[in-house]
Amino acid sequence: MSELAITLLRLGYLVLLWVFVLSAIGVLRRDLYGTRIVPRRRGARGGDATRAGAPAGDTRRDAAPSRLVVTEGPLTGTTLPLTSSAILIGRAPSCTLVLDDDYSSSRHARLYPEGGQWFVEDLGSTNGTFLGQARVDRPTPVAPGASVRVGKSVLELQR
C-alpha cells in the first residue's frame, strides 16, 4: 500500500472515531442542556401571574388544574406543569419545587393528586402550611385558584 493511502486511512479512522463520539454527544445534547425553559412576556394577558390563567379557567370550570403557579415570594411567576406525580415543596434540593426561603422547612409540604383532585399535605414543617387562612393539619383538597402559603411563598393551582 502506498504511503498516501496509509496516511489517509490513519486520519480517516480518527475522523470516524470523533464522528462517533460527537454524534453520541449530539444525542445527549438536549439532556445535557437540561429542561426547556420558555420565557414568557408580560402584557399579552395584561394581568400579573395571579390572574394569568383565569380566563382559560372560566371557560372550562370543571376541568382539572393543569399547572402550579407561584404567585408570591422569590419564585413569583414560575409555573410547573401538573403531572401524575406528587410535587414536593421545600428547601431541600431533592424537592420538585425548591424554595430559597428561610421560613420554609427542607421538606415542607406535598401536593398530590387523588381521585381527580389535588390535595395538600404538610410534612411536619416548622412554620406550617396554610390553605387560605387555615393551617393545614391533615391532607386537604385544594381547589383551583385557592392560595397555598408555604413560608413566604404563595402557590396556586391553575387550569
Binding site: M1, I6, T7, L9, R10, L11, Y13, L14, L16, L17, F20, V21, S23, A24, I25, V27, L28, R30, D31, G34, T35, R36, I37, V38, P39, R40, R41, A56, A63, A64, S66, R67, P74, G77, T78, T79, L80, P81, T83, S84, S85, A86, I87, L88, P93, S94, C95, T96, L97, V98, D100, R107, R110, Y112, P113, E114, G115, G116, Q117, R159
Partner: protein
C-alpha cells in the same frame, strides 16, 4: 416569568441502532486496518469477525427493545465501540508477538470473552426485570462480595501471578473474583446506605465544621471495608484495594451529600498509603518507579522498576498528536501491552487525538450512569447506578493516571479495552445494570387515575407521553421519594 416544560422522553432505540452501526464500523475498521497495515492484506476472518461483532451488538439491541425499551440509547454503542477497539488492539499485539516468534491467541480468547459478556448482559437484562429486586439481597451481596474477595487466599484454589494473589484457577482458566466482588459490594453499599442514610447524615458530633458520623452507624460498612483492605494487603493488589476504598467513599458521599466523607476518606487513604510505603517493599517500589522513573537504576531494576512505565511513555510520545496508525507503531515493546498498558498502545497508534476520543467515550459512559442516578426515582437505584458508574470512571482515572505517570501505577484494568476475561464479564454486567436502571429512570410515569389525559391544556396531543401498551407497571413508591428531577434542574436554572 418562565414556564418549565420537562421534555418528552422517547425510547430512541432507532438512534441507538444508528450509533451502533457507527460503533461497529469503528470496531471492524480497526480490525481491518490492523491486518492491512501489518500484513498488507485484510485479515482472513474479517467477514466472520465483522458478522460476529454485529450479531453481538444486535442481540443486545433486540434485548433492549424487548426488555428495556426506555434504556439510555448511548450506553450500548459506546460499550461496543470500546470493546471492539480493544479487540483490534489486542489482535494487533498478537500479530506483533507472532512476528517475534511468540505465538499468542489473546484476541481469539478476548473475542470469546466478549461473546460471553454480551450473553451475560442479556441474561441480566432479561432476568432482572426491576433493579429494586436487588435490594432484597443486600446482605447476601455483602457475603458474596466478601467471599469473592477472600477466594484467592484459599490454598489450592488461588494462584499468585506476577506477585499478586488475586487469581482463582478454575478448570484451566484463571479468573479474578475481585472484579465481580466490586458489583456485589456496590449492591451491598447501595442497599445498606439507602436504609441508614438518615442516621448517617443527621446524627453525630460536629468537630471544627466537619460533621462526623457516629461510630455505631458505621458498623457493617467498616467491617466490609477493613476486611477488603486487610485481605487485599495479603493479596498484594494495590489497584483493587484502591478501587474498593474509592467505591466506599464515593457511595457514602452520594448517600449523605457530606463532604466530610471525602475529607475523611482522603485522610485515611493518605495515611494508609504512607504506612504501606513504609511497611511493604512492593508499594515503596511503586512510589519509586513513579517519582524517579527516569533514574537509571530504577529503570533497570528487574521486578518493580519503571522500565514498563517509561517504555509506555515513549510509545505515546512516538504516537504524537495523530498516532502512527493501526499496526504502524511498536506497542509490543512495552511489557503487558495487551492488558495493563493497552492505553499506551492505543496512545501510540491512535495518537493524542484518538486517545482523547476514547476518554470522551468513557466520559459519556460514566455521565450516562450518573445521569441515570439523578433521574431514577428510588434511592437504591440512585446509589447503585451512581456507584457502578463511579467504578468505571475511577478505573479509567487510575489506569490512565498510572500509565501517564500522574499517579503511581496500580494493577487495574481499563474497562472493555484491556485483555482479561473477568474484567470484561464484570464490566458487561455493570453496563447491563446501568441500562436496566436507566430504563426505569427514563420511563414516563404512568398517567394518574385522577387526571385523565383529556384534561390537558392542548387536546391535540391526546393522552400525552404515556407508556405504550404492555409497559404499564406499578409506579414504584409514589411517596416522598418520588421526584421529578427534570423540573428541579429547570427551576434551578430559571432562578439563576
Amino acid at each position: 416569568m418562565v414556564t418549565v416544560a420537562p421534555h418528552r422522553v422517547r425510547p430512541r432505540r432507532g438512534v441507538e441502532l444508528g450509533l451502533l452501526v457507527l460503533a461497529l464500523a469503528l470496531a471492524v475498521g480497526a480490525y481491518a486496518l490492523v491486518g492491512l497495515n501489518v500484513t498488507g492484506e485484510l485479515p482472513g476472518n474479517i467477514a466472520g469477525y465483522g458478522a460476529g461483532m454485529a450479531v453481538l451488538g444486535l442481540v443486545l439491541h433486540v434485548v433492549l427493545r424487548l426488555r428495556a425499551p426506555y434504556a439510555d440509547p448511548v450506553i450500548l454503542p459506546a460499550t461496543i465501540a470500546l470493546n471492539g477497539i480493544g479487540l483490534a488492539m489486542i489482535y494487533r499485539i498478537d500479530l506483533a508477538y507472532a512476528a517475534r516468534d511468540n505465538v499468542t491467541a489473546f484476541a481469539t480468547r478476548q473475542l470469546a470473552w466478549t461473546a460471553l459478556g454480551v450473553l451475560l448482559a442479556s441474561v441480566v437484562l432479561v432476568v432482572l426485570r426491576d433493579h429494586r429486586t436487588l435490594r432484597r439481597y443486600t446482605y447476601t451481596a455483602m457475603v458474596v462480595g466478601l467471599v469473592l474477595v477472600v477466594l484467592p487466599l484459599v490454598p489450592g484454589l488461588g494462584t499468585t501471578i506476577n506477585g499478586a494473589r488475586i487469581w482463582v484457577r478454575l478448570g484451566g482458566m484463571s479468573l479474578q473474583p475481585a472484579e465481580f466482588a466490586k458489583i456485589a459490594l456496590a449492591v451491598f453499599f447501595a442497599g445498606y446506605l439507602v436504609t441508614h442514610r438518615e442516621t448517617l447524615t443527621l446524627a453525630g458530633p460536629r468537630i471544627g465544621g466537619l460533621h462526623l458520623p457516629r461510630v455505631r452507624d458505621l458498623g457493617p460498612i467498616l467491617v466490609v471495608w477493613a476486611c477488603s483492605l486487610a485481605v487485599l494487603v495479603f493479596e498484594r493488589d494495590l489497584g483493587t484495594s484502591l478501587l474498593f476504598f474509592g467505591l466506599f467513599v464515593a457511595m457514602l458521599y452520594l448517600a449523605t451529600e457530606r463532604t466530610s466523607w471525602i475529607a475523611l476518606g482522603m485522610l485515611l487513604f493518605g495515611g494508609g498509603a504512607l504506612l504501606a510505603a513504609q511497611v511493604f517493599p512492593h508499594v515503596d517500589a511503586r512510589f519509586d518507579a513513579w517519582l524517579h522513573a527516569f533514574d537509571d537504576d530504577v529503570f533497570n531494576q528487574s521486578p518493580g522498576g519503571s522500565g514498563q512505565l517509561v517504555r509506555g511513555l515513549y510509545g505515546m510520545a512516538n504516537g504524537g498528536l495523530f498516532g502512527t496508525g493501526w499496526g504502524q507503531g511498536r506497542p509490543d515493546l512495552v511489557p503487558f501491552a495487551e492488558s495493563d498498558f493497552i492505553v499506551a498502545s492505543l496512545g501510540e497508534e491512535l495518537g493524542l487525538t484518538g486517545l482523547l476520543a476514547l476518554l470522551v467515550t468513557y466520559l459519556v459512559l460514566a455521565e450516562r450512569g450518573m445521569r441515570t442516578a439523578i433521574g431514577v426515582r428510588d434511592g437504591f437505584g440512585k446509589l447503585l447506578a451512581g456507584g457502578v458508574a463511579f467504578v468505571v470512571a475511577f478505573q479509567c482515572f487510575v489506569v490512565v493516571g498510572g500509565v501517564t505517570r500522574l499517579i503511581p501505577l496500580t494493577g487495574l484494568t481499563m474497562p472493555f479495552l484491556a485483555y482479561g476475561g473477568s474484567s470484561l464479564l464484570a464490566n458487561w454486567v455493570i453496563v447491563a445494570l446501568i441500562l436496566r436502571i436507566s430504563d426505569s429512570a427514563r420511563r414516563p410515569a404512568p398517567a394518574a387515575p385522577g387526571r385523565p389525559g383529556s384534561d390537558r391544556p392542548d387536546p391535540g396531543h391526546g393522552p400525552g407521553p404515556g407508556p405504550g401498551d404492555g409497559y404499564g407497571r406499578d409506579p414504584g413508591h409514589p411517596g416522598t421519594d418520588h421526584q421529578d428531577t427534570e423540573i428541579l434542574t429547570g427551576l434551578k436554572e430559571a432562578r439563576g
